[in-house]
């Protein structure tokens, strides 16, 4: 079951890297987050530890419900054209993602911890989304993918106290909110959320 969910996460991340439409990326992101939340819940069911339940619930509430609402709302408000501008085109992105997944599974081939391997793949794909896309909103989704990787790391590596875990997830949510508000302002000031217009600050 958990292996299947991890596979869902990986496949969704491959999808995200090449798809051209912002709405579709958001939907895939929801799938990915749901899979991560379910993994945490399943682990909670298996081990009976409260921490996993909380982490899973928090992930589902923030990343499957609240953050997509923020993204969709700003998409509707901004009336941006739904196509995202790519710096690296779709085909190459797919290949790059594939290579990254191979690398992250290759480096850690000796370890049996699939969470960490998937987590590292998510880090790299998140950063790729941030670097290779021009729209501010896709950069935000890239960051959230990166954060999903962190959650996988957290599941695998450590058991922290409840307050701390809640703090971490809460801050992720807040950061997404901050980015959302900022995108709104950027759109108002620049008439676009294309980061190509960010060229005022040079030496």
């Amino acid at each position: 079951m958990i292996e299947d969910l991890l596979a869902v996460i990986l496949i969704s991340s491959i999808f995200m890297s090449g798809v051209r439409r912002v709405k579709l990326v958001t939907r895939v992101f929801i799938f990915q987050s749901l899979a991560i939340g379910l993994i945490a819940l399943k682990l909670g069911l298996d081990t009976g530890k409260m921490d996993y339940y909380i982490l899973g619930l928090l992930t589902i509430v923030t990343k499957v419900i609240i953050i997509p609402i923020i993204i969709n709302k700003s998409l509707n408000q901004l009336k941006v054209n739904r196509e995202m501008d790519l710096i690296v085109n779709g085909f190459i992105s797919y290949i790059l993602t594939g290579i990254f997944i191979m690398i992250s599974f290759g480096i850690l081939s000796s370890s049996h911890d699939n969470y960490i391997k998937t987590g590292i793949a998510l880090f790299i794909i998140g950063v790729l989304l941030m670097v290779a896309r021009k729209k501010a909103i896709t950069q935000m989704i890239g960051f959230l993918t990166f954060e999903n990787g962190i959650v996988l790391f957290e599941i695998s590596l450590t058991k922290m106290s409840l307050v701390i875990e809640a703090g971490i997830v809460f801050e992720g949510l807040l950061l997404a909110l901050v980015m959302g508000i900022m995108i709104f302002h950027i759109n108002k000031t620049f008439d676009s959320i294309n980061t190509d217009f960010f060229e005022n600050l040079k030496e």
């Binding site: 701390i164 801050e171 960010f198």
Partner: protein, 486 residues
């Protein structure tokens, strides 16, 4: 007891701007609150000097001399900046640059920002330190984009993206770090005071990777080159009081968190070479910033690059790791906070008078704004390390340390960069202050007298620091040095 008091104080300070519509009252409450914070800090300092270290709430908060230094920096800069903000925000509202609502938002975010910084300094939980750093990112993101124009939004977006990635990488490092110690008692595992005493971890290799990730990730927040790219933009676009706070205090605090991890790491046999991370990144920061300083056209950007340079000096001092250089680094972090705040606040006054950040548009400041010109020169002397000021001794002791440890190449590089910075600063500031163009008559501006109280307060603090150098202050820094070097 004191911790609870601090908590209540911050709660009041954060709630006030949300409830009261009067911006003056909010400003006064913030000033009063920062006074209380300073007095609590002094009280805590007196307590710790008797007991060596204190811990509260099942060791969630832990105070030793290293914390005290940070507390001292935060609370003293906080009071200066909140006095400055009082007039600054009112001036902006009168000029209709910002609405009343944004003025209240400023105080809300500012107090939250200070809260997170004090939290980082006091906490003993390594993940809570990270949460605090992330909290400062959240609050300062809006403070940088406070003016909502193209430049400030661009810099704020850059800041959020780069720093959140950096801090994410730092968090991965922290997770691996904690995992390396997972054989220990699970209740104690996140406590710094426990980790610093504990025996060797399961795998030194994992700790090595973890510390490198932490250094690079949190180093982004500390503004060490080459991860500094957000810094000049953010510091030049933020409102001047915020730049003063960020440059003087926040960068320092990020380095402090790295230092906490370094203290744990360096005891582990086989990992003493992690100090080269500090040395290499410090030297890189020095090199990149000193050459950038020479070609700046914007005086706030110049000051921002100088922050990178000073953080490089501090990192270098910590990296060399002999007692004298660590002493120099800690002393430098203290004096840099005061000096850089003085400079940024003066720059803020000049900006509000001239409405431009370009160096070539400002001439003969000594005639138009004599008071600010004097503070500008004094601040410059503090930052470049002229002899009567403690920055001279801190920079000098780092030179002595590098020579003693035999790293002659680093000594040469370090002195070259200091010289370059000195030249760059002199060139710009002499031009700004004394250069009078022929045929132009300069009149004294009325605005000169505005908002000079925080500047003089800042300078008085520097003088106080010089006077107490040999007594209490140096013993406090020496205690902190013994925590790091022991």
């Amino acid at each position: 007891m004191y911790i609870i008091l601090l908590g209540i104080l911050f709660l009041l300070m954060i709630i006030t701007p949300l409830i009261f519509k009067n911006i003056k009252a909010t400003g006064l409450v913030t000033i009063l609150g920062s006074l209380f914070i300073l007095s609590i800090t002094i009280k805590i300092i007196m307590l710790v000097s008797r007991f060596h270290s204190l811990s509260f709430f099942n060791e969630f908060f832990y105070i030793d001399s290293l914390t005290l230094l940070q507390l001292l920096i935060i609370s003293s800069i906080n009071i200066i900046v909140s006095i400055y903000s009082y007039k600054y925000i009112q001036g902006e509202i009168v000029e209709k640059k910002i609405s009343l609502k944004r003025g209240r938002l400023y105080y809300f975010l500012f107090n939250f920002f200070v809260f997170f910084m004090i939290f980082i300094a006091l906490t003993n939980n390594i993940v809570a330190m990270w949460i605090g750093l992330e909290g400062t990112t959240l609050t300062t993101a809006f403070l940088i984009g406070f003016n909502i124009n193209k430049e400030s939004l661009e810099s704020a977006w850059k800041y959020v993206i780069i720093c959140s990635i950096g801090i994410g990488i730092g968090f991965i490092g922290i997770l691996i770090f904690v995992n390396g110690y997972s054989s220990g008692d699970p209740a104690q595992i996140l406590k710094w005071s426990h980790l610093a005493k504990s025996s060797t971890p399961q795998s030194t290799y994992a700790i090595k990777i973890a510390f490198t990730l932490i250094f690079v990730g949190l180093g982004t927040k500390a503004g060490l080159a080459p991860m500094h790219t957000w810094l000049p933009d953010a510091h030049s676009e933020a409102p001047s009081p915020v730049s003063a706070m960020m440059s003087g205090v926040l960068l320092n605090l990020a380095l402090y968190v790295i230092l906490r991890f370094y203290i744990i790491t360096k005891h582990i046999p086989g990992l003493s070479n992690t100090r080269w991370l500090f040395i290499i990144f410090g030297c890189l920061s020095l090199l990149i910033s000193s050459f950038s300083i020479l070609r700046q056209l914007n005086y706030k950007r110049l000051l921002a690059f100088s922050s990178v340079e000073n953080l490089g000096i501090i990192a270098l001092g910590l990296g060399i790791g002999s007692k004298i250089t660590v002493f120099g680094a800690l002393l430098h972090s203290l004096i840099h906070a005061l000096g850089k705040s003085l400079l940024f606040l003066t720059a803020g006054n000049i900006l509000s008078a001239y409405k431009t950040k370009r160096i070539d548009k400002i001439n003969a400041l000594i005639k138009t704004m004599p008071i600010n010109a004097v503070f500008l020169i004094l601040g410059m002397l503090v930052i470049v390390g002229a002899p009567p000021f403690p920055s001279f001794f801190s920079e000098y002791s780092i030179i002595v340390g590098t020579v003693q440890s035999g790293n002659y190449i680093i000594t040469a590089l370090y002195s070259l960069c200091l010289l370059l910075v000195f030249a760059g600063f002199l060139k710009v500031f002499i031009k700004i202050v004394f250069n009078a163009e022929p045929g132009v008559t300069y009149e004294k501006l009325e605005i000169d007298k505005e908002n000079t109280l925080p500047l003089s307060l800042c300078f008085i603090l520097i003088i106080v620091m010089i006077l107490f150098m040999n007594g209490y202050l140096s013993s406090m820094i020496n205690n902190a040095v013994s925590i790091i070097c022991n």
